[in-house]
Amino acid sequence: MTAGSSLQRVECIPKLTGEAKFIDDIDFPGVIHGATVRTPAPCGTLKGFTLQPGVPWDEFTIITAEDIPAGHNFIAHITDDQPCLVERRINHADEAVLLLAHPDKQLLQKALPLVKLDIEQGDPVLTIEDSLSRRRVVWGADNVFKSFTIEKGDVEKIFTSSDIIIVEGEYRTGAQEQMYIEPNGMVARADGASVTVWGSMQCPYYVHKSLAKMFSLPDDMIRVVQTVTGGAFGGKEDYPSMLACHAALLARKSGRHVKMIYSRGEDMAATTKRHPSLTRHRTAVTRDGRILAMDIEFILDGGAYVTMSPVVLSRGAIHAAGPYFCPDVRIRARAVATNYPPHGAFRGFGAPQSFFAMERQMDRIAAKIGMQPDELRRRNFIKKGQAMATGQLVRDNVDMEGLLERALKEADYHCKRRRFDAGNPASPVKRGIGFSCFMHGGGFTGSGETFLSSIAAVEAAPDGRVRVLASSTEMGQGANTVFTQIAAGALGLPFSMIEVAQPDTSIVPNSGPTVASRTTMIVGKLVENAALGIKQTLLGSGLLREGYTASQFSEACALYIKKSGHLKSLSQYKKPEHMDWDDKTYRGDAYGTYSWAVYVADVSIDTVTYETRVEDFVALQEVGKVVNPVLAEGQVQGGVLQGIGHALCEEVLWKNGHMINNRFTNYIIPTAADAPPIRVFFEEDPYAHGPGGAKGLGELPMDGPAPAILNAVMHATGADIRSIPMQPEHLMKALEDSKEGGK
C-alpha cells in the first residue's frame, strides 16, 4: 500500500547531514563570480555609465544590453516585455543594468559601487489608484496588463430590487516576500554554441525557453539542471529565467563557469513578491442571509512588467466569490502597471488576496444582518451540481457544511466564542475566534493544462530499478517522495526500487512548471500512467504475470531490455472529458477540481501593546486522498504560518519604489516563538482523475489564515480591519478611531 503511507522524505538524509549540494555548495572548475549593477531610480532614462577608478577594470567581464543579440533583450514570459538588461528606459528600482564578473568575490563587491550610472529620473507610478488614473502611462496604452469580467446572471438587476440589504467593502493586501531560506542562485557555462545552467529553480523548462530565445539556440544546445532547491513558494518560478540569462551572458563572454548567488538584500529587493491587491465588494443579501448578488472588483498591482500577472489575476478572480452559490455574480478583474519590481508568483497566486476580501466581507455581512458568521456561510455554501461564478458545475462531492461543523468542533469555536464574549469586557487582553471558508483549484487555470500538454516518463533498468523522469522539481514540498510512492504503488514494487531523476532538461521530459498545486494531482497522474505503461508492456510481452514479485519484475526487465534495448514509458496530459473552458469569456471549467477547507484562528490582543498573537489554529481540508500524511501535514503547517505572517507581520516597506526593509532584521517572518499550535485535519474524498485519488494541496493553506485571523480580531475587539498586514499600529489606530467615532 503506497498512497496514504508516510514514507520518509526520500532525499532527507543528505539534507540532515549537510551533504545535500545546493547551488552555492557545488564546486565548478575555474569558476568566477558574477554580480549585478542595478538602478536606484524607480523610472527614468539611462544616459550612460562610467567605471570609476579603484579596481583593475581590465580584469573584469562586463556585460551591458549591447552584448545581447539585437532584438533578443527580453526574458521570455507570457509577454516578452521585460528586458534582460536596461537599454535606455528604466521601469523599476533595482532593475538590472550591467553585469560584472571576476574571480575574486571581494574585488567584485568593491567594483559594484564604482559603476556610476547616469540616470535622468522620471515621475514614478507607485499606487494602484495612480496607475488607474493614467496620470502617467508606464506600460502599453493604459497601464493595464490584463482586464476581464466574469459574469453570471444579471447583477445590476438584483441591486435595483427592493427588500435587499447591500453591504459594501474595500479590502487591501500588501506585497509579501517568499523568504525561502536559500536565496536565488545560478551557475552558467557556455561551450561553443551550447549553454548549460545549474541552479535553484521551480521550472527548468521556463529557464530553458528563456535561454533558447535570448541566444536563438536550438533546444538541444541548452541544458538546464535544477540543483537542490532551498524553498521557493513561487519566488523561483519566473525570476530564475532572468538570473540564468544574466549568468549565461557572463559565461559566454568570459569563457568561464560563472556563479551568481544573490545576497539576501539583493534577493529581497530585486526579485518578485506577492501582488498587492485592492478588492471592492458589493453584496446583495436578504434579511434571512441568502446572498443574491455579488459585485466584485479585483485589482492587482503587477509592478513594471507583465511577467505572471495575467495568470495570477485569473486565479485570484476565479476564486473571488468563495465557496458559495450565488445566482448573480460579476467579477471585474484588472492587473495594472506600476514602477515596482514585477510582482510574481507566491503560493496561492492571487487567491489569498481575493479570499481575504471575500471572507472578511462575509463576517461583515453577518454583523450587518445580525446573524452568526457560521450560519450565514451555511445558508450560502455551494453544493454539488450548482454553478460557480464561471458557470462551472461542481461535479465532485463537496460538503462545506460538514467541513465547517468539524472545524468549529475541533477548534471548540462556539464554547470559546461565548467564553471570550463573557470575559473580554473586564480583561485588558481581548480574545477572539474567527474562521474562513475557501477552496483552491488544482492545476493550471482554464485551458492551461491543455496548453502545457505535460509529459512524464518512467524507465526501468535491467536490474529492475525504476526511474521517474519529470521536470517537476523537489523544493521542499515532497515531490520526490510523492512520485516515489505513486510509481511504487502503480508497479507494486518496494520504494527502494524507485528513483526520481534530478530534473535536467537533457534527461527529463517537460512535465511543466512546479507550480499551481499541480505536481501531485496532474504530474503525479502522468507518473502513475507511465508506470502502469511499464507494467503493461512487461505483462503484454509475456515476460511477467500478474501477482509478480519484485525479483520477477527485475528478471522481466532484464529480459525485455536485452531484447528491445530499453524499457521506457511516457504519459502525456489529456484533459478530463468533462472539462470545457473558454479563454475569451472566462466561462466554463476553470479547474479540473477543487480542494476545500475551513480554517479557524483563536487570537489574543493585548490592548496595551496592541500585539495580536494567534493562540491556536485549526486547519481542516478535503484534498482528495492524502498521499503522504506526514508530508501533507507539514506542508499545511508551513503554509498556515506563512499566512499568519501575511496577516500580522510581513510588511514590505517601499521608498521611491525600492524595498527598504530588505533584510531578515526588519522584514519579520514568524519564528519558533511566534508559531501557535497548528492543528491539521484532513477529510478524504478521492478524486477520480488524481493519482490514487489525490487533489492539489500546496497552495491551499495560504488562502485561509489571513481572513480567519482578521475575523477573530473583529470578534475580539470590534475592529473592522480590511487591510493586511495588520501591525499593532494599524490596530491601535482602528480602535482609537472607533472610540473617537463613538464619542
Binding site: L16, F22, G231, G639, R663
Partner: protein, 155 residues
Amino acid sequence: MKITMTLNGKRMTFDAHPMSRLLDLLREDARLTGTKEGCGEGECGACSIIMNGRLVNSCLVPALQCEGADILTIEGVSAGGLHRVQEAFLQHGGAQCGACTPGMIMAVVALLDHNPNPSEAQIREALAGNLCRCTGYMRIFESAKNAIAAKGATR
C-alpha cells in the same frame, strides 16, 4: 593569516583572508558546505555552528576570533552516522527544503547538550533564532521532543 582551530575534533590550520568570517572559512577554506548562508547578518540561523560549546551564527564570527577555538559543524555531528537529533528529524518530518536544516539541527543539538530535558517553551525559545519557512515549526518541535525521548540511545 594563519588560524589554528579544532574543527570537528581535528586540529587544523587555515590560511584565511583577514576579513573573512568563520562561515567563509568553513565553506571555502575547509570545504564544509553543510553550514549554509541565509542572510549574512545573524538573523536566520542557517549558518549555526557550535563554538566552544555554544551555538553561534558563523556569519557573525570573524575568522580571526577562532584561533584555538573548538568548532563543531553539521559534518562533525554526522561523522558517526545519524545523530539522534537527525534520526528524529528523519522520522518526524522535521526537514522540508533542507536549507535551514543543518542550522536547526545544530540548535537542537546545542539545546540538548545544555538542557537534556527541555520543555516545549524552552525548545521554542532555543529555536527562535533559527528561521524555517517551510514547516511552520510544528514538526521541528515534534522532532526535538522525540530526540529528547531518544536520549537513552547511543548518541
